[in-house]
Assembly symmetry: C2
Homo-oligomer: 244 residues x 2
């Protein structure tokens, strides 16, 4: 059955973590809000907003991204991956592996919130320009303390994997590997200097990032027009004054 | 098998969401870091730090809370509840119910991060006093926009439940109900004025909160010494200047 991904059309954002899983698995999916409503019936931003606003939806998503799969609607990036993981073959079979993979995903989600809040430390409803002094302060702690701490932790997870440091969980690809790849991509875009320093001390994370980029389907996706470029409307924004 | 909850001993914090599930289910558990190391072998803060720091732990938690259950170690509040839910009878049996319950939990986790960041908008490593002007700005948006938006959303979830608005998912108690109770408790402590206003427009949430407080085991727990009082070291802090 077709997967429908619903997410804001102009940014990678949180939707990208879901997109990478769908792409790496070669899944049959539509990126609903990016379809043109005039050309493809039931697509476009209006189609996404229709689901968001419909009082008939029993399980309304609080915010995009959300997945529609037949009658099932799932919101929250990590919950979507929890649902997709077994279906796409992107998580181990045992309960312990599944919960551990999910725990890694939730820690990635924590970094994503903190990365977002470097440019929006006061309110999502305000422009970056309206919270720039606060952003400068917040980004300092993120660069100097949080990025190193998170990447070092992921490095220790890889180093401790009894099946080797090629993947985060066991001896095969999981959605958490794809998400860690995306996290590194985002950090490198937004904080090139701070990321370079932190990755030097997290060699297993750097190696995982580089090896993911070689994954056949992922590489094809990254080179395609389906991959939206990073930009300053997304979560990972490159404001040079926030990096150093 | 005994559950070991590991969390900072002086605060409710994120550990409380796990504690409420264990308490409401009448589970056999120890609150490891709150045990006195001199009295009970293997307990106390040192026992928690030992797990955190041990290079032999294959699945190291990034931060407390974490659960130890036999050989299994699970970190991240929502992942712990994902693991405990079926074991404690605090989640439905179908996959759709489980993912939906988890999605609700992740949305509660989002509010918790935002509540924390009202008093720590710049850095967790700094004191509140060192980020007070920023906290005043951030709290304003949280009070005026975010609390109402989140509580209204949970209200619509309850109102749409085909089995009635007594519980978030189906016709029986889940860990998400307990967590929503705790979220309301925390918001009422930290932002009594803003919460009162928002709860008036979220009557189903207010009713769920009141009904949870009547739950036999939960009521016994709340009245016991095991319930740590809210305080200004935790996530929900009452700084009157941040409420209005």
């Amino acid at each position: 059955m077709l997967y429908e991904l619903h997410y804001w059309p102009g940014i990678q954002g949180r939707g990208e973590f879901v997109r990478l899983a769908l792409e790496a698995a070669g899944a049959d999916y539509v990126d609903v809000a990016r379809g043109r409503s005039g050309e493809t019936p039931g697509q476009g931003l209006a189609a996404m907003m229709h689901v968001m606003d419909s009082p008939d939806v029993l399980h309304p998503p609080f915010a995009p991204p959300f997945l529609v799969h037949g009658k099932v609607i799932v919101g929250q990036t990590a919950a979507i991956l929890l649902y997709l993981g077994p279906r796409l073959g992107l998580v181990g079979k045992s309960e312990v592996q599944r919960v551990w993979t999910h725990q890694l995903q939730l820690t990635i989600a924590d970094v994503v919130v903190e990365a977002h809040d470097t440019h929006h430390p006061i309110a999502t409803g305000l422009y970056y320009e309206d919270q720039k002094p606060e952003a400068l302060r917040r980004a300092k702690g993120f660069r100097e303390v949080r990025i190193p701490r998170f990447l070092t932790w992921f490095d220790s997870v890889l180093a401790r994997n009894p099946r080797g440091s090629r993947y985060l969980v066991g001896g095969r690809l999981s959605y958490a590997d794809l998400s860690l790849f995306q996290l590194v991509e985002g950090l490198q875009y937004a904080f090139p200097k701070a990321s370079r320093r932190a990755l030097k001390k997290a060699p297993c994370v750097a190696a995982l990032h580089d090896s993911m980029a070689q994954h056949r389907r992922l590489a094809a996706y990254l080179a395609s027009e389906r991959r939206i470029a990073f930009n300053e409307d997304g979560i990972f924004r490159h404001y040079p004054e926030l990096d150093s």
